[in-house]
């Protein structure tokens, strides 16, 4: 009788362990790569013609948003010589994949048409060129604001991607 009880207990423990393990492993555990500094390269738009003011606005907003909410100790601009001495440097390369220029006037008059949308492929690389994280990020302006506001939307989303993907301290969850 005691032998049966022991066997049932053992079976119960094993089954609990068997069921619990995948549950534990399946929980959200994003591992952030360590990066204390980021360098932002100028936005590239080789295939898609982008107005100069959009390109500059994307770059400037990106630098600003990464400084605000990227979670990095240092944010370096394209060509900054100080970046090469930075430990755990990540380099952000951005390439324009799609651009649809809307109209502020149409947005204001109709409220449903005239949206400006921009899609940019972002690659976070280490100094050796290895891709650590890549994602397509979309910037839009639907209702209010000038067309350049789409660049602000893109910058905010990219800074969030960077914040979620990297950490200045070791492997935070």
């Amino acid at each position: 009788m005691k032998r049966y009880a022991n066997a049932i207990l053992c079976l119960a423990v094993m089954s609990v362990a068997f069921v619990a393990r995948p549950l534990y492993a399946g929980g959200p555990h994003p591992v952030k790569a360590k990066a204390s500094a980021i360098q932002v390269k100028m936005i590239r738009s080789d295939e898609i013609k982008l107005p100069a003011e959009f390109q500059i606005s994307l770059y400037e907003n990106l630098v600003r948003q990464l400084e605000k909410q990227g979670g990095f100790e240092h944010v370096y601009r394209d060509g900054d010589r100080r970046a090469k001495d930075a430990p755990d440097l990540v380099i952000l390369h951005s390439t324009v994949r799609g651009f649809k220029e809307g109209s502020e006037r149409t947005r204001r008059v109709t409220t449903v048409a005239g949206a400006t949308s921009i899609t940019i492929h972002c690659e976070f690389k280490n100094p050796d060129g290895k891709v650590l994280l890549e994602k397509d990020v979309n910037g839009k302006v639907w209702f209010f604001g000038g067309n350049l506001r789409a660049t602000y939307d893109f910058a905010k989303k990219t800074a969030r991607v960077a914040h979620d993907g990297f950490s200045s301290s070791e492997h935070k969850s």
Binding site: K49, E53, N147
Partner: protein, 178 residues
């Protein structure tokens, strides 16, 4: 007879006065007032700061309120006006919401003034790339661009045009048909 003389002299006086006013207006309109809005990117200056933009002694000088900001002309790598962008991209990008804040009503949107933009790229003492966008009244960006180029700034607009012109001629030799 007297009345006729009076009318003729009065008409002459009116014509002369009209000419004088036209001349004064022409002089005024040919002289730009250099008003500009620093839309974004100017170091130490808030976005959408209103001020005056001039090119003096090898520097691009932006004065707003009691403060000012300078960019050495020699450090400017690229100067592009809104018209240049329009020519390159093929669509107008120069309508900016400068006068009315968000939510001022749809009615105002129909009466927006068109502005020109002046976009610059320059490097600071560490080699870091900066971008600045100014908004100016229509046709006032081009004279400032010319002034900057005369004082040593660079532009990619000519290069892009040249590349576009040579591209069709070069393409068959680069990619031979099989």
């Amino acid at each position: 007879m007297k009345r006729r003389k009076f009318l003729v002299s009065f008409a002459l006086a009116l014509a002369l006065a009209g000419l004088a006013i036209c001349g004064a207006n022409a002089q005024q309109s040919s002289k730009p007032d250099n008003k500009a809005i620093a839309l974004t990117g100017l170091t130490g200056v808030k976005d959408n700061a209103k001020g005056k933009l001039t090119v003096e002694n090898g520097k691009l000088h932006f004065v707003y309120g009691k403060k000012s900001s300078d960019i050495p002309v020699a450090s400017i790598e690229d100067v592009v006006t809104g018209e240049d962008s329009q020519a390159a991209v093929g669509k107008t990008v120069s309508t900016l919401s400068m006068a009315a804040p968000y939510g001022s009503g749809r009615f105002l949107a129909l009466f927006r003034t068109k502005f020109d933009t002046l976009t610059l790229r320059y490097r600071d003492e560490n080699g870091a790339l900066h971008g600045v966008i100014f908004a100016l009244p229509t046709a006032e960006a081009e004279p400032i661009k010319k002034e900057l180029l005369a004082q040593g700034a660079h532009t990619t607009v000519g290069e892009a045009k040249a590349a576009a012109a040579t591209a069709p001629a070069n393409s068959p030799s680069k990619e031979p048909k099989q």
